[in-house]
Symmetry: C2
Subunit: 204 residues, 2 copies
């Protein structure tokens, strides 16, 4: 199971709230936002629908709760970057891989990517987590230019890798080892961290 | 509109068959495979449901037809690679960008990516198009080692870029120019074409 590093948000494992969240995560990933009902989540979690409303207010509230990642993007990326930018590419790939598989199946990021495809609100969450609150400020604090462009490019490669490896299971990426993925994608991400970029101003 | 380069598959623009395909493409992308009915496609296209069955047999047949790309992956990648592998990265990015935007919105690849997320059969189509029939053999013909691994890594970056830029519209990728995207992603793809790779055998 995923362990939250945020305090006060989850009352501990095995509670009805966790059961609701786990059921909702699976249903949102399978049926999308529109195809998922509060009633179906309650049934799947074996609780009264009123309890779902009590905890999360609305389907949107439930959805936002499901999209909470099991790490705080403001601190985790700062920590990764603070260890230096030289091998940051490899560390980012390894961290990303570990997050996808942290619950034994494909992890919360898989749910996020599966769900965001047709949900603009979820896409904004991804943008905020990966670019604006998370990696962008961390890269800026390391003194790198174009931190948000770099963060978005890094996110595009990490999300694409996760999508093909874990969600679509496209070979030979699906079955290669984590070490192999780190060895091959690490240098690609590293380029996006430190290589000179073409920026919008310079192209016009 | 998308123009097919395959002969004999589409009877020309403006026909009922095209209307059905365009409607189905929009509905599959919005509602997924499970959420789309033959009846809804017929209604959207303004035709009798029997005509949808006549042309495509089943929902699966209709889905397969929607996933036909407007280019033949066996020839287009061979052509791109035959021009030399030195600037192949830039050519691949530019081709990919043009394909996503070829119908004025986000193109057939956007539909494919939106739809494949929850459709294993569609993921196999993507695997075949991008890795097995398409780019993999083209890279092999250029004498590159690990052509399918290279093809899958290239696909992961192209799909991730397309997803963030066109589907999720994550900034600053969503609004940067094609030239800027080519300038920044081209060298990344080029690495996957020609840089030494770690291969599964060497990691174990």
């Amino acid at each position: 199971m995923v362990t939250s590093t945020r305090t006060g948000r989850r009352p501990g494992p095995g509670t009805a709230r966790d059961d609701i969240l786990n059921t909702a995560r699976a249903l949102f990933a399978r049926d999308g936002f529109r195809g998922t009902t509060m009633r179906a989540v309650a049934e799947g979690a074996g609780v009264d629908p009123a309890l779902v409303t009590h905890y999360f207010g609305s389907k949107q509230g439930l959805f936002d709760a499901v999209l909470e990642l099991p790490f705080d993007p403001r601190t985790v990326f700062q920590t990764l970057v603070a260890a230096g930018t030289e091998e940051l590419g490899e560390r980012l790939v390894r961290f990303f891989l570990s997050t996808w598989t942290s619950d034994g199946t494909a992890g919360p990021l898989a749910t996020l990517v599966r769900t965001v495809i047709n949900e603009p609100t979820a896409a904004r969450t991804l943008e905020r987590l990966l670019v604006q609150d998370g990696l962008g400020p961390a890269l800026a604090s390391a003194g790198l230019d174009e931190p948000e462009l770099r963060a978005a490019m890094i996110a595009s490669q990490l999300v694409g890798m996760g999508l093909l490896r874990f969600v679509l299971r496209i070979e030979p990426l699906a079955s290669c080892s984590d070490d192999l993925a780190v060895a091959n994608f690490g240098p690609a991400i590293q380029r996006f961290v430190t290589a000179p970029l073409a920026a919008q101003g310079g192209m016009e």
